[in-house]
């Protein structure tokens, strides 16, 4: 007995340290992942997933469409509402929608940073490796591009985070530096990405996307020569063309040669579908009265909005009647398409050398697809600005509900003028919003989310006017 007890006693005193060294059983961890090509592919997929969270309906559209004269918030109550406050220029920094977009964007950027930090150490097919680098650089650049257009100066992060606490001291990086990074990423991506991908890889970023986005970035930077350079590269690639069927561009089931980059939502039982809304439409983002009045005769209107529901014009571009058993639908959100390339080039040509027959031809390519017998003539325009107005009007209808309008208004310096003219609210024919509003210079940038300012202990400074 004694010996048994002594043995027990000894074994108890010399228990081994490994007893308390336990690893997670149901989760992978950073320590044991990112080793193989398969691991890395999953990190890349997660980066695409991140992009999904910012461009999905209900997120980016509040900044890019609801804010503009294109759409308004039908669900506005007398007191406004978190979504409606975008529409009615009544935003405060506490608005949760601001923070959700900011937060999701940086999560995407972090996922891209992880891929770029880890990929060089991984043994995998070198061509694929190059492509993956280009893909996540594109996603990072696109995400920063939205951030910088929405908020101006934003923190620039291009490394994998190892110590989140150190970010409390992070301040906003000047927009010019952010743009430089965007351009660097896109330029490198354009060199790394393949021109095309096979069907199994449909949905991945290709070279055309990087080039096209570069053009869009340079358009904002007003470097029109570069816009022409990069739009030309896309056009000359011969890979893209205008789709004869405008509505078909948005049909999930169809593969359109016009679409250069899009983000997919796939229904089914793996939480990747887009939630089927009450009546399959988003009442927070419906066509404004002004939009409907302006384009009531445009043939594209039926593809853009559901005109059957008089008074409430729901968007049709991310619409799908086939509801999966998990109550979700397949949709694709178009980020960049050929018509945009053509109109960007037209705009750049107009800026550099008005009048330009080439610009007119480009504009007409898009315009006559919708209205075959109503091509513009150079004689229709008396000034550079008038031609620009025509392009903007064309863009407004052509890209309605595609998250470009507000940014177009801001980059062309027309936001205050255009929005002020449509500020009466309610059901007035020219109303851009549900409620009357006033707009000023400071409304061109959005308020930095208070949550972020608080988390940074005030190191992030608010935009003026908020």
């Amino acid at each position: 007995m004694k010996y048994l007890i002594y043995i027990t006693l000894l074994s108890a005193l010399f228990s081994c340290e490994s007893y308390i060294d336990l690893k997670p059983l149901a989760e992978n961890s950073v320590d044991n992942f990112y080793n193989t090509a398969s691991d890395l592919e999953q990190a890349v997929i997660a980066t695409y997933d991140g992009l999904q969270t910012s461009v999905r309906p209900g997120y980016l559209d509040h900044f890019a469409e609801v804010r503009s004269d294109n759409t308004y918030n039908f669900a506005t109550t007398p007191a406004g509402g978190a979504y409606a406050d975008f529409d009615n220029f009544n935003l405060t920094s506490a608005n949760d929608r601001l923070n959700v977009f900011w937060h999701n964007s940086y999560l995407t950027i972090q996922r891209a940073n992880i891929v770029l930090n880890r990929i060089d150490a991984i043994t995998m097919d070198e061509t694929i490796k190059e492509s993956r680098k280009g893909e996540v650089k594109f996603i990072r650049a696109l995400t920063y591009f939205y951030l910088v257009q929405i908020w101006g100066d934003v923190p620039l992060v291009v490394e994998e985070t190892t110590d989140p606490i150190s970010f409390i001291g992070q301040t906003r990086t000047p927009a010019a530096e952010v743009y430089n990074q965007i351009i660097t990423d896109l330029t490198e991506a354009a060199g790394e990405l393949p021109a095309t991908v096979n069907t199994a890889n449909d949905g991945r970023v290709t070279q055309g996307a990087a080039l096209g986005l570069l053009a869009r970035v340079y358009l904002v930077r007003k470097d029109y020569q570069k816009v022409i350079e990069y739009t030309n590269q896309v056009i000359n690639s011969g890979l893209y063309s205008l789709d004869a069927d405008y509505a078909g561009i948005y049909d999930y089931a169809k593969k359109s040669n016009e679409v250069i980059f899009k983000v997919f939502f796939k229904s089914g039982t793996n939480s990747e579908g887009f939630p089927y809304l009450n009546v399959n439409h988003d009442y927070n983002n419906t066509a404004a009265r002004d939009f409907m009045e302006t384009f009531k005769n445009d043939p594209r209107l039926d593809a853009i909005v559901d005109t059957s529901n008089i008074g409430t014009y729901y968007g049709n571009k991310v619409h799908n009647e086939n509801v999966s058993t998990d109550n979700t639908i397949d949709i694709k959100t178009v980020i960049l398409r050929y018509a945009d390339i053509l109109l960007m080039k037209a705009e750049a040509l107009n800026e550099l050398q008005y009048p330009s027959q080439e610009a007119l031809d480009l504009l007409n390519q898009v315009h006559t697809r919708a209205k075959p017998n109503l091509a513009f003539n150079l004689a229709d325009f008396t000034s550079k600005n008038q031609f620009l107005e025509a392009i903007l009007k064309e863009r407004r209808i052509e890209f309605a509900f595609e998250n470009l309008r507000w940014f177009d208004l801001v980059r062309t310096g027309k936001a205050l003028e255009v929005m002020s003219a449509k500020n009466t609210g309610g059901g007035r024919p020219n109303a851009a919003s549900a409620l009357p509003y006033t707009i000023s210079e400071s409304d061109l940038l959005f308020p930095i989310p208070q949550v972020q300012i608080d988390a940074s202990s005030g190191n992030l400074k608010q935009n003026p006017g908020y």
């Binding site: 007890i5 950073v30 150190s166 039982t269 058993t325």
Partner: protein, 1103 residues
Amino acid sequence: MRKNYLKSGTKTLQIALLSWVASVCLAEELLASPVNEKEVKAIETKSKFYFGSLVPGTPKSSGQTQIVFAQPKWYTATTNRIVSRPITGRVTSEAGEPLIGVTVVVKGTTTGATTDATGGFALEVPDNGGTLVFSYIGFVAKEVILGNFTTLQVTMATDAKALEEVVVVGYGTESKKNIINSVASIDSKELENRPVVNFQQSLAGKVPGVTIAQSNGAPGGGMTISVRGVGSITGGTQPLYVIDGLPLSAGGDQGNDNFNYSLNPLNSINPSDIESIQILKDAAATAIYGSRGSNGVVIITTKKGALGEKPTISFNAYGGVAQLAKKVEVMNAYEHANYTKLARDLSWISKNPARNKASDPLNLRNIDDRYPAYMIPYINGEAELTDTDWQDEFYRTGKVQNYDLSVSGGTAKTRYFISANYLDQKGIIPNSGIEKTGIRLNLDSELSDKLRIGINLNPSYIDNNLARSEKNWGDEGLVIGTLMQHPELPVYNEDGSYAVDKLFQTLWSGESNVVQFQNPVALANLVDNRLTQFRTTFNGNVEYDILNNLTFKTAFGADINYYERTYYRPKSLSYRTEPAPTTFFNYGSVFNSNSANILWDNTLTYTGSINNEHNLNLVVGSSMQKEVNKDATAEGRNFATDNVRTINTAQERYSSQDEREWSLLSYFGRASYNYLGKYLITTTVRADGSSRFGSNTKWGVFPSVSLGWRVSDEAFFKNNFVNDLKLRASYGLTGNNDIPYYGSIALLSTGGKYPIGDMVQAGLYPSTAPNPNLSWEKTKTIDAGFDFTFLKNYTFTADYYYSHKTDLLLNVPVPSASGYSTSLQNIGELQNQGIELAISTDQKVGPGDLSVNLNFSANRNKVLALGPGQEQIISSGGLSGSHVTRIGQPVGSFFGYKVIGKFESADQLAATAKLGNQKVGDFIYQDTNNDKVVNADDRVILGDNYPDFQMGLNLSYKIKSFDFSASVYTQQGLQVINTMHRYLAEAWGNNLSVYLDDDAPRPVWGVGSATHTRASSWQIEDASFIRMREIILGYSLPNTLTSKVHISRLRIYASLLNPFIWTKYSGYNPEVSSNYGSALTPGEEFGNYPVSKTSTIGINVSF
């Protein structure tokens, strides 16, 4: 201590048995050598054979006087012929009450007896005189010289030293007299016969410094318990529970989130099985539990039999009814219809004030601005229309019944306690309740004079019918949903079926946008929501005396816990976005969880004394504990029919699995020394290594020291007023390891899927940030106090404590630019300081015995530090930004705008700083920083959920056959945020009646509009209360009557639980807390299961 109801009828057998055992014991030794007196004495000391039946129920280590059986005359008696004669007698207390079970022994012999139910005894005594020794627990032993008496009337005096109870402390026991830490004890009397599911519910108001809130009234629902203030910001705040030496893990996943309230993991312990509860409060007491000690330790000891005790069979039963204790005032049908009309009209007018009028017909308006057609007769003032009080219709009378049966007793070397328990409680929400069945076996046996074994085994089964009470309307939360139901609607159709879907149809048809909540009576009754739990706790130990005063103990414990959670929402019940028969919302799930918590403890205990002056007790030990949790969930949608509800019949099925574990490796020691019981010192130390800590910080060391001085034993202090006065002070370092299992590791989420090539591909990304330095939270506590006994039967205990908590785990909000929203860091600091006072007395008042216990405690909590450069953490409960944790303020204070009135006119509106596009009739929020703008910066702290002080008064009075006890407690100076305002304010569902008052804001129609529902002083209410917790009146039938049917005790009683509450608070329950366990968002009422008042009658019988 349990009384020993030995009857004289068994004495012969018992004595014979004991004599035989004893003689065998001695005979072995005697045969081995020639006999002389000296040698026999030597043998006695060595073998230490205890005459167990003389000290019933007393563990050997308790320090009670042990009566050594063998005496020198033992063997000489065998050579001398003894002439005996009979004697009878009766033993009573000083009050004249018969004492039952008194041991009567002829001094120096084995001849003895035990008194019966009338206090009488009879035995044979030597004719040639001698002495009778009377002994009885709690009384001074008495010797009576026999002389020529043939009958004896003996009166025994109570023994003040009997107060020297033994207190269970970690890994050992200590005489209560020598305790120099802050330890509170509760005994079984305060736990039994209460209509409660778990013992914690009986502790409310009984222990100073321990706050036990009845935060929800669900049968089997969890309690909010804090020892000496909130101990952590984000880590665990629950004390460690140790049952019979087995530290339980308090948490455990309970299935998917279909209710917010946590079920109490301690439901499996039957309150009637508990012998005593010790609550270790100061760090010096809890430091022996190291990294788990900083929230206090609750040590539960279950009942045991007594050596040599005849089997005692006890049967207890009670039954009762429960009712909703309080209703919330909402509008009646007429008020509601008119208020809705007003709100919708105003909304319509505001859309175009120039054109729109209140008189515009409904069909001109959009759906949001219409009110339902069924309101029109009410608006027109027609009489006698349906006016449903949904609270009356929904809440039912709850019922409770409970049965306990136990047998306890012992033989000379083995003692046992066996019990069985059944409880069935039906809650006041339909289809909610709990059924519990449990068995306990506690067995101890001396295998030899050096070797003892013991086991405790407690299997239990719980079947819990759950109600999804705590959610908002959108998640079909029943409490909020019931309040929001339109009173114009009936509960049942004329044919008696449930009137369902009326609100849905009102919306679907385009008639009006109204709250989309199913008839709550139908919802509660038709949805299955249940949890079954099978749990077994086991504890086995072996003790071996290596030397006389050196004991080795090894204990193996296991807590095996199996849960099954099932949920089913029938096809036949419409959902707000899907009419019946539902497919997507025809949902079922099953969740299985099993956990095994395995413990192995080893201790060496040394007890020594030099001349009874220097007393030393040493414990060293090691402990290994590991818990593995595994669970699996299966979910299904669109079942074939409602008849078969298993997931295999669902069209769509999903499943998932999880598995996690933690382990703890510890070494510990304690040394207690006292000199003459006057100067006392105890030090402890524990080293804990935990799997939860980061790789750089695997081990923590937790020391403590306590000092005590019994002033009353000093010669200079002797006086008649003071009986005992002990000053004590302690310091200790403890930890809180209730931090996430893998908090130090950056885990990856599989939520990053994306379709490529029309195929969904897997994507992984980090969801938590790494922190290799992650460690336990640290608490340094000093405690100073005294224990004071005066005028014989008054005791007064006072404590002051100050605890400084550092390295508190915070999910520090970090800028999202980092790729994370939070990072888990050991960074916060807070302090708790407070005083605790308790005074109690047990004394005769008139012909009865009065016992009074009054306690008072006050705690002040203050945050000292947060993250780097961080001044505050703003947290949200049901309302956005409703709580703030700010440096210099208590954790989780209420936060928001300060309402200073409402805008009465357009002029006032124009002239006053306002928030956003406020209108006349809206609240005026104070511009607290005087910058002429009202914005987020004007939010201020509006109160907190911590009482300024709490008091409890417990009294009991026994007179003749009657006993009465009552318990009342109060908390003063606390606030609650009544988040029911979030939905019961907007003319969508029904509204709180307060919106009809003059100071109410204008009616606003707009779901989720922020007009009324910003966190503000409007929702913060004074929640001070005085609660009558229980009143019990019992009557015991006279022994003369019961003893005839061999019943030693028969008591009937009636009790009221929560019969009264005095409070200004308007919600259901001022003790409410929706966000169970979150220190950041305490004190919120958002549809919690209301607390009920219960009346019961019961019976206790002992054989």
